[in-house]
Symmetry: D2
């Protein structure tokens, strides 16, 4: 770490800090400028560096402490330069193929779920999404079917062969949800639920970690580190929009985050333009943008009758709109030298 | 709700929506302007209004749906015009007295906790704060002493008589934490942890609900509604700063929120200038500002040696700084016609 | 407009507002719900609606006023459903062709500018960008060559045939800058410089209006309206990123804004991924994303030696990186059924 | 500056950077850690440090460049530890006295302006505010009376003896506005209008510089530096709220900025709770908060009939509300050991 002292710092202040850090095993480089004195501290092997930095920053004679190393390691590219590819019942995420996860926001009933699943599969989706437990800002809203919803999803998987992804909302349901889900989804409100992250880290099951709506990329990667340091390396990141001052869209989809994450981490990244925009008319263009920017896949909300949906209707695509979208997506995928995980089924949208 | 139709909406579109809403029991006011048609829908007693609004908004012929009623009820002033006062072992929160909750960020050891508790009490604090379970962005940081920390807090309460407030981080620990705590604290990362809110709603124990760092005031009041609708009305709100583009401070303390909440809700509101600024030098002026703006109390991090603290040292006040602050605070409290919950103990800071 | 009254409003309050609005020529729809009374006011032809709304909102008995009409008109799609195409010396912006504007951030010297211009043209760019007047947060930074810079740009235009775009920073320089520029650029810091917008509105010259870094889409369209209402309809919008809490990138490129603007307005929209990301490594993926999302063109900073650039080096592409990027861009353009404004010159990047 | 190299940097990369910086006159401290190499560069006297930092950051082998010195100097406390006090026709800003600037948002007519001026003076205000040139997001709104408005303000000054502050919107009007104004006000949209800042810097007249609505504190101080480096040291800062995701208030008043500015700069700071909240009900509590946090004064919008105001009615105080507010403010001022710039005139509000 680098310690920038305030211009009021005395020689004694400097000596005290140096002695403290040397006592902890740091190598010290001291440099006195005309206006500022700077202490470089290198290589303390066994302690919590972030804490020491914070403690040093607390001193009145210190203006600022600048960390040198990134606050994550296992999920960083410096630790593991090759890209991670995750295999979910034969569907590969993070390889050349672009994967589309599609389905309704919430599981509402069995016949509808099966209808959507069959349709999405035919249109090219390879993973079925659906919520059985739904977070909701209002205490008066629909909160999902719970385990019954998971059973419906499992039935849809049995019929279509598509692996299923669903959100784990409450750590107490983890074991039960994990029995059904092929990929566990951690939602934006749980990105900093460190108890949940730790338990998932102790499992051996793929997890998709959505970015917190006000989390920086660095905090998001630290959350992934929580999971990975427990030994569960099958972490998929999902950009789903951040909260900004703009109100026309529900969130601001941070397309910059896609190439940024690819530069900083080896984990695959999925884009969720449904939440990232909140408006079905914007889903298709922003989904294409995400793929053009390098995303490894998409998560799209699809509903046969959005105007009857029990949640998120305004951001759900109708079946035929989804099919049309998938047709338009394939050329973009090829334009970035990747491969759709499906073969073109042109009749669907015609 | 008010439905603003797009200029492309046909007469048939209008009739369909009107029929749908009348079928659900709404009274309808239709008004056709030169450029826009507007449907006012009033008084549907038994359904989920937010859902119906969302479903209507999904229709292509609809430009926008404007809700009329606020999305919370029980915690709103229209429902309950008198201010709520909460009694915690004889300490009144939300009345004329201004309450100061003080103590270390984390409980680190017994002797230190007792030292801080005794000192804070003498300086005027009436509630002891301290963390036994700590959320932390980094998986490598200190996470608290757990139940041992709670036992230390209980010992400090036994000695000093101060009620204790501590954070409940994981819903699985709720029963255990509630055994020790006089006030349960829900942290900023858990404001939208709806499972936890529901369980706390089922208890009969005061809770302090911190604002989510990217939550609007309206969402925060909805989170309070989650708890209150279960029957636990002893909810204290806590403004602790929001996330903005400013990086000089850790958060932007939203002082506007204090009078805003007082206008919209009857619940008491506490300010946390330690997290709201992240810098100990700013804690005192911002704490005074919060009281001047109408806050019912403060939560302040105090540590005997901030440069040795295991967490949040840079935002913790030293003991003598805290004592000096309390002396300076009393005249502000009186200037807004309120009363310090303590008698002046002038010798402490002299 | 729709006026939502507070639950304290009396019958007299309602009558007073109704009489006031009827006096101004509004048609009134009054609807009394159980909890709220709502006044719909329709069709006041000649006055400043925003002002009246604000005055009504000032009344203590009013909770909220909801406007019905959008705050812009001439630049909206409801006013002019067909897309606007702007012809700049034969280069068409807003049609099927995707236009790339490229060049250095600042004009530094003639030989370098000519080198970049020739190279960019060969690589496919059709408009030359370059700054002669540069805004700069620091008073100690380079501020551009002024009119000398414009002369260099004009020379580059003479040689290459590329039209030139350059920023007008100070309204006093407008006439002089307009003598040289083919497109005037209004930067992010001037989006709300209403004096400048008005003067540009009085000209007949294409203008590219960058989004204010903290402006909503609606405010941005209102700024365009300032120009258009004076009679200058040749307005090109440019998304260049907004300010958010994320610090890894210089700005957050708001890709949602591209399809949003296409839905709300008939004006062409250009993307500036150089400022939108602030990092040259992210420019290519985000540029591709913008095209996939429907942008009509790009503005890219290119410099022969970014490490020697007098401004914005970290976000400038080197010449060969730019050529490689242009090769990769063409297939994306075709994948969204559009046409590159250039013919592929494959040898450049090989 | 400190240069953190990427883990891919070679010895040759390091040597090249070192040679480059030594050639520019920097002293170099090189430190090689296990994972990262760091170059400290100290003391290059005569060049643009920010530019060199940017150029170095452009290199592929560089991960990050950390500046050591603050990007402003003349306005910083390290340069000038004593607080600056500005004398405006005998009214002192930045000393022990708290100054209140009050008046209508816009000057609308002479009789009303005189009425407000007389009343505000009697209630305790010592400076008269009023707008003759108004920025407005909508091209259809009122833009002020121009020079006629300034003449009205001058007449009010003649009668009441209060110095006047008014906004300079367009650099072309500067000379004319300066003829009338005692303090020039630079509005939030012009904080980065560097041409205007430079011209004001060349004058010898007090200026109040409002914070840009999306500007960091550091950028704001750099804008002040623009003015001060030209020789005009009479700069007053004004916090007026920043743009965040919260929509209940017009802006988020950043109370943290007040003590932060006091720590970083010697310039006086005024608070504008009218714009900082956008709601008259919140003006009084937030104004008190600003004073409690250490502000040197306030700027308050006052209007005899807010519901008829041509601008900003919802955030304007009525005359009697203002008088009541001033009565309540005095005890807060004394509670922070400062002095109201007025003597209590109790009869006004009774």
């Amino acid at each position: 770490m680098i310690i920038i002292l305030s211009s009021q710092a005395t020689d004694q202040d400097v000596e005290k800090i140096v002695a403290n850090l040397e006592g902890r095993g740091y190598g010290i480089h001291l440099s006195r400028g005309v206006e500022k004195t700077i202490i470089g501290a290198i290589g303390a092997p066994d302690e919590d560096k972030a804490l020491i930095a914070q403690q040093i920053e607390t001193l009145a004679c210190v203006e600022r402490v600048v960390p040198i190393l990134k606050p994550y390691k296992v999920v960083g590219r410096e630790f593991h330069p090759d890209r991670t590819m995750i295999d979910v019942r034969g569907v590969k995420i993070g390889g050349d193929e672009i994967v589309v996860m599609a389905g309704p926001c919430c599981i509402e009933c069995e016949s509808q779920t099966l209808e959507v699943a069959r349709f999405c599969k035919k249109a090219g989706a390879t993973i079925l999404r659906g919520g059985a437990f739904k977070p909701s800002t209002s205490p008066y809203s629909f909160h999902g079917l719970g385990e019954d919803g998971l059973k419906i999803m499992a039935a849809a998987r049995d019929e279509t062969g598509m692996p299923i992804i669903t959100e784990i909302l409450d750590v107490r349901d983890l074991e039960m949800v994990a029995k059904y889900a092929d990929i566990l989804q951690v939602g934006t409100r749980n990105m900093s639920n460190f108890g949940l992250l730790t338990e998932i880290g102790n499992m051996r099951k793929p997890v998709m970690l959505k970015r917190g709506m006000s989390s920086t990329i660095e905090e998001w990667l630290q959350a992934a580190e929580y999971i990975a340091t427990r030994g569960n390396y099958e972490v998929i990141l999902c950009e789903r929009g951040i909260r900004t001052f703009e109100t026309f869209t529900r969130n601001t989809f941070d397309v910059n985050a896609i190439p940024a994450v690819k530069e900083l981490s080896h984990l695959p990244i999925i884009a969720d333009p449904s939440h990232g925009t909140g408006k079905w008319q914007l889903v298709s263009p922003v989904a294409k943008a995400a793929i053009a920017a390098g995303a490894d896949g998409l998560m799209i909300e699809v509903h046969p009758e959005p105007q009857m949906a029990l949640k998120d209707g305004p951001q759900s695509l109708k079946l035929d709109t989804f099919a049309q979208f998938m047709k338009e997506l394939a050329p973009i995928i090829r334009a970035v030298n990747r491969v759709p995980a499906w073969s073109p089924v042109s009749e669907l949208a015609d």
